[in-house]
Amino acid sequence: MAVTEIPVAAPAARSVEASQRRTGWFLTAPAITLMGLILLGPVLVALVLSFTDYALGNSGFNWVGLENYEKLFTRSTYEKMFVATFTYVVTVVPLSVGLGLGAALLITSVGRFRDLYKTIYFLPVMATLLAMAIAWEFMLHPTIGMVNRTIEMGCGTFLEAIWPFMAQGCEGGFPLWLGDQRYAIWVVCFVGIWQGFGFNMVLYLAGLTSVHRELYHAAEMDGARSAWERFRLVTWPALGPTTVFVVTISCIRAFQVFDTIEAFWPQGAGPNKSAYVMMFAIFEKGVQQNLIGIGSAITVVFLGFVMFLTLIQRWLVERKVHYG
């Protein structure tokens, strides 16, 4: 609403304006109250608690100042937490967005079985991750798992000669996957991508339907011969708003990863805490160990990241990718 200031406003006009303003506040009051109660309130409580040593069941608490945050940024456990979280985000977001886009483009370009492919790629999104994690656990079992047994078939073939991983594996056994701290976080990433890209694909499919078909014809007439040129000239720019949304959603979801890790390693978040992501840390500190103070501090940092991402998204949506 644009309010233009008129230097000499008649009193009548001013009172109309005031009453409009009052009505506005009145009408938005329920929404504001609800938002305060269920959204801002808990966040504020978490913020306050993050400066204390409160534990559930205690009758009181002490103010500890920034002690919790200091721990967060100095202890090696939390360093592992940040490393694991960022490794996950930096791997899963680009790959699941890229694969989602690729799958959407492929599906729109095939004539038949379109719905079949859509369903297949979307299945992991609908499935319960906890159940799926158990299935993956079986598949990744070091000796009887499907994955290692499939790789084993490559032993004795030329693959052994050209691929060091193969040669090593055939001699000394293939990786333990879930039990090896070099691989653990990557397995989590893999499951995250496998599970998440179908969701991005669906968003991109929706985005692709809004691309004006005639633009491809115009591009063709203008001399865009290769699929890549048409993609760059028409598809990618048209998908700009979708991409901003998909990337933001993927980032937030990646920061929230928890259930895979809980299912694979309920106790320790991976060998040597190599998959100790933020959500798991919040759960472990705040719920399992009843250290509400430090748990709240991690939550606040987590909310900070999400807030930052959301602000970037808003900024991009408002200025760059909006074609009006």
């Binding site: 004006h212 005639e214 633009l215 014809h217 115009a218 591009a219 063709e220 007439m221 203008d222 001399g223 865009a224 011969r225 040129e229 000239l233 028409v234 720019p237 048209a238 700009g240 074609y323 009006g324």
Partner: protein, 384 residues
């Protein structure tokens, strides 16, 4: 030389046949106006020529070479789309520059950021810039060059689309209603620009339009299309004066041609139960029709062929059109008269109308043109 032959093109969408065997020979440098009612398949034909749609049967030959299997980008044609099809994320200047960049710069030179540092790219970019400015000034959109298509009015977008098609020098231009959204002044002006461009480049133009003035004034030939067929393709004056089909006669000309039911019996032509002429070399048939342009009718006194009451009149200053209700005819007859006759054409006045049989166009039952020899007109008239 880029002659363009369209040879028996058929197009079906599922069950419905949209184009039913279109054949047209277009010589290099011709300006063909393609006219016809909405939904008759004009855009479809244009898209097939362009290679954006594949025909169900038939062939397109450009410059002596069949372009079956040649993709649109390689046919070297330029097109204005009915829906404009501007790239929404690019500014007006970039939109117009796209065909030049795509066709004259290498893939590396076009790369974002690094491309402009490639050898030759800077110079090429300057040339393209100059060409874009020239096209923009012709179309009066220089002030809009930095805007996005979303910030333009319909007419401005149309001019950008036209600019994008006209910056190139292709074998043929395909324009799908390129002026439909412009105001009257700009339309006349742009019409002039396109005609001028046609003369200068000597390129082939195929121009779809709903505007008869455009078709009549710009084209070397008009192709009248209806229900997926080309009924006639001739010079504008021929299409108007000598239509081959009653549908062409009805479509071309505004106000519409008057159609009177007539009868041919023993060589005598009867209209409203009056003998008006004797014809030979034509078989007797009952349901023939007589077409009379508004200017072929003239006011006359008593004992006219048609007598009726003025139901409506329009004074355009230089001429007057009157609609006359004639008993026995289902539609009003339109007359074009001199302003001096205005007084006789007051509402409700009874007037007589006459015509030379030589000015009448005869069509048979199926709508095809009849060209009989007129032996004798009614006594009061001279033999045409």
């Amino acid at each position: 030389m880029a002659d363009l032959h369209i040879d028996g093109v058929v197009k079906s969408f599922g069950e419905t046949q949209v184009l039913k065997g279109i054949s047209l020979d277009i010589r290099h440098g011709e300006f063909i106006a393609l006219v016809g009612p909405s939904g008759c398949g004009k855009s479809t034909l244009l898209r097939i020529i362009a290679g954006l749609e594949s025909q169900s049967a038939g062939d397109i030959v450009i410059a002596g070479r069949s372009v079956a299997g040649v993709r649109a980008a390689d046919r070297n044609l330029s097109m204005v789309f009915q829906s404009y099809a501007l790239y929404p994320h690019l500014s007006v200047a970039d939109n117009i520059a796209v065909p030049l960049r795509m066709r004259t710069m290498g893939a590396v030179q076009r790369l974002p950021l690094v491309g402009r540092w490639m050898p030759g790219a800077a110079e090429r970019n300057r040339e393209i810039d100059a060409e874009v400015r020239k096209a923009a000034s012709t179309l009066e959109i220089e002030t809009l060059l930095d805007r996005k298509p979303g910030q333009l009015s319909g007419g401005q977008r149309q001019r950008v689309a036209l600019g994008r098609a006209l910056v190139r020098d292709p074998a043929a231009f395909l324009l799908d209603e390129p002026l439909s959204n412009l105001d009257a002044k700009l339309r006349v002006q742009t019409r002039g620009e396109i005609a001028e461009l046609h003369r200068r480049l000597g390129a082939t133009f195929i121009y779809v339009t709903h505007d008869q003035v455009e078709a009549m004034t710009m084209s070397s030939r008009i192709a009248v299309m209806m229900e997926g067929q080309i009924l006639q393709c001739d010079a504008p004056d021929l299409v108007y004066e000598d239509p081959e089909d009653i549908r062409v006669a009805e479509f071309i000309g505004s106000p519409k041609i008057n159609i009177l039911p007539a009868e041919l019996n023993g060589g005598s032509l009867r209209v409203l139960d009056r003998d008006i002429a004797r014809l030979t070399r034509v078989a007797d048939q009952p349901g023939i029709r007589l077409g009379l342009r508004p200017e072929a009718l003239r006011l006359s006194g008593a004992d006219s062929v048609l007598t009726g009451v003025v139901a409506h009149h329009e004074n355009l200053g230089s001429e007057v059109f009157a609609q006359i209700e004639v008993p026995g005819l289902s539609e009003r007859v339109v007359l074009r008269a001199d302003p001096s006759a205005r007084r006789r054409l007051g509402l409700g006045a009874t007037v007589g109308l006459d015509f030379d049989i030589g000015d009448a166009l005869l069509f048979d039952t199926s709508g095809k043109r009849l060209r009989p020899v007129i032996e004798a007109a009614r006594a009061a008239h001279q033999v045409a």
